[in-house]
């Protein structure tokens, strides 16, 4: 028996250290409560941001950590949105929390099936398969307009008060509290996942797919697991959007939404969870500001931001900030 392992870092301790909460993180989540006091008229926007952030986290899990480039993740967002909507509009069940869980489970189930296809392809074919599946789901929902309402959107959704107590109000107090709580729980789950040995295995896959089986790591099963989890979280985000806006549009499945979420993630920075939250915040705030001025040119700025980020800030806004902070510390 050799004794070399004692000199190396204990992996369990390393993971524990990685997963410790920093003061900055606590401050960040406390800051998420500020809109209640300072911007009470923007609570609906804040709630939309929380939904987008949860969706971006789901994409970060597969794109940022496992390296699966996807242009079709709106598929799961939309499945969650329609599941939550149909439960209320067609089945008459408006209880929000169980409805949300069912939406997540449904998207997760579809994600599990799709994951068998995803692990078979790489590079351009992978991008095209995710894109194709996303477009396919959109067309399917469009063709099944008897169920989904087609381009008119799904109407007649009535969500009951949370716990039978908190009614969804016009100002969005309940909506933001609810979406923020779910976002936080989803974030905790994602944080737990990426700071585990499973999360490390995913990063290994991202860095070098061929080497993972060589060290005895079943990379296909890992990819399938994270893809399913990611789909379920995206479904939760979709369900949240339905429950807080009482409507489902075909747009929730669109390519635009798949592209937007990747843009948010890239702006914020991939592979660091907070990048997803920050990206969603910046994206929606800027859109809210700019689309008021001239909506036609909103995509000019998004395109320009993307190009600048790719060329000069490969790790996104958060990566750039981290580097700046590191520089000032010396």
């Amino acid at each position: 028996m050799s004794n070399t392992t004692t000199t190396a870092i204990d992996p369990a301790a390393w993971i524990r250290r990685q997963s410790r909460w920093s003061a900055l993180e606590v401050a960040f989540w406390l800051a998420a409560l500020l809109p209640f006091y300072f911007f009470p008229t923007y609570l609906m926007l804040a709630s939309q941001i929380a939904v987008a952030a949860l969706f971006a986290i789901s994409v970060d899990l597969i794109l940022g950590y496992a390296g699966i480039v996807t242009l079709g993740h709106a598929m799961f967002f939309g499945i969650g949105a329609y599941t939550a909507g149909l439960l209320s509009a067609k089945a008459g069940w408006g209880e929000p929390i169980s409805g949300l869980l069912i939406a997540g489970a449904m998207a997760g189930a579809v994600g599990f099936v799709v994951s068998f296809l995803i692990v078979r392809v790489q590079h351009l074919a992978l991008i095209m398969v995710t894109l194709g599946l996303g477009l396919l789901t959109y067309e399917l929902a469009n063709a099944m307009s008897w169920l989904t309402g087609g381009t008119d959107g799904l109407r007649g959704i009535d969500i009951w008060p949370i716990f039978g107590l908190f009614r969804f109000d016009l100002w969005g107090y309940t909506a933001y509290s609810y979406t923020l709580a779910v976002l936080f729980l989803g974030f905790l789950a994602a944080r737990r996942i990426v700071n585990s040995s499973f999360g490390l295995a995913l990063r290994g896959i991202r860095e070098n797919v061929r080497r993972m089986p060589a060290i005895g790591s079943p990379y296909r099963r890992h990819l399938q697991a994270i893809y399913t989890i990611s789909a379920a979280i995206a479904g939760l985000a979709g369900g949240l959007l339905t429950q807080t806006t009482n409507t489902v549009a075909l747009e929730s499945l669109s390519f635009q939404r798949s592209a937007d979420v990747v843009v948010m993630l890239i702006l914020g920075g991939t592979g660091r969870l907070y990048g997803a939250v920050l990206g969603a915040l910046v994206f929606l705030l800027v859109r809210d500001r700019l689309s008021g001025v001239n909506p036609q040119y909103w995509y000019f700025w998004i395109g320009l931001m993307l190009m600048v980020v790719v060329l000069f800030m490969p790790k996104g806004i958060l990566g750039g900030l981290t580097r700046l902070a590191g520089r000032t510390k010396g």
Partner: protein
């Protein structure tokens, strides 16, 4: 019913040939440098706008507007390639996808700024209008012209790739870049030339497309999906593959929209996913 079938096949094939001209350049450049250029459709859009403007403002005849579109797209693309794209060849597919999608967004906004969001009409010369009547079938003259153009381009490309020195260099670089470099082939320059030619073809395709599918600022985005399907299904770096892929997609698209309008697009995407799962490298892909 039979007559309908013939016309659908004919229209579909013509549409497929249009898609071929639009996408073959991307197939070759992707095979050459593995650079995923989602802005390829934007160069097509540029060609369309150049052709429309040249005809309307400068009074160019249609046949002169086509090469103008080709040249404009080729020139602009080579400027982008030399200054921006080349920084991204080793940057990973995600960065390439994002950067070029950013470019599509910017180009769409720029087109909106200059031309507005409306459809740009094109006035064809008389000899390209109307249709040829065979028995009870009516074949659009413009579509016949389109097919003839595409076949001529295919012949030129195949001849150029198989029989000329430049073609041999391109094939060598596609097959194995490092060995080609080692043999003294300037892969960097080969790529710039190929990129310009490919984008030029996209520009030509864009100019040809105005009559069939119209032209507005969403062109680059809308046809991106079609172009990508052709490239992915056909296989990278294969002219034959792009030809077959484009013909299949064109016929499938027109037939689907004609016979089963409800689920036509659905069937196209289903076919795309199915083909890629069975053959991840495309029908004619080698690697």
């Amino acid at each position: 019913m039979n007559a309908n079938l013939v016309i659908v096949l004919f229209d579909g094939f013509a549409f497929g040939m249009l898609l071929f001209v639009l996408s073959v350049g991307l197939s070759v450049t992707l095979g050459l440098m593995n650079f995923i250029n989602l802005a390829h459709g934007a160069f097509g859009m540029l060609g369309g706008y150049v052709a429309v403007t040249a005809m309307r403002q400068l009074g160019f005849p249609f046949l002169l507007a086509l090469p103008t579109a080709f040249l404009a797209a080729a020139l602009v693309s080579v400027v982008f390639e030399r200054t921006l794209f080349r920084r991204l060849y080793r940057a990973g597919e995600l960065n390439q996808v994002l950067f070029t999608i950013g470019l599509v967004f910017v180009s769409a906004a720029a087109a909106t700024y200059v031309f507005g969001t409306g459809q740009q009409p094109i006035v064809l010369p008389d000899w390209l209008r109307g249709s040829v009547v065979v028995g009870e079938l009516r074949f659009g003259v413009y579509r016949i012209f389109l097919i003839a153009m595409a076949l001529a381009i295919t012949a030129l490309l195949v001849f150029g790739l198989e029989r000329t020195r430049l073609g041999a260099r391109i094939r060598a670089a596609v097959d194995n870049q490092r060995v080609a470099q080692g043999l003294g082939i300037n892969v960097d320059r080969i790529f710039a030339v190929t990129f310009a030619l490919g984008s030029g073809l996209a520009g030509l395709g864009g100019a040809l497309a105005v009559e069939i599918v119209g032209l507005d600022p969403s062109f680059g985005f809308h046809y991106l999906v079609y172009v990508l399907i052709v490239v992915a299904v056909g296989g990278l770096g294969s002219v034959t593959g792009s030809f077959v892929g484009a013909a299949l997609l064109g016929i499938g698209d027109v037939a689907g929209k004609y016979f089963v309008p409800e689920i036509g697009s659905f069937l196209i995407y289903l076919m795309l996913v199915a083909i890629l799962l069975v053959r991840p490298l495309g029908l004619f892909g080698k690697r």
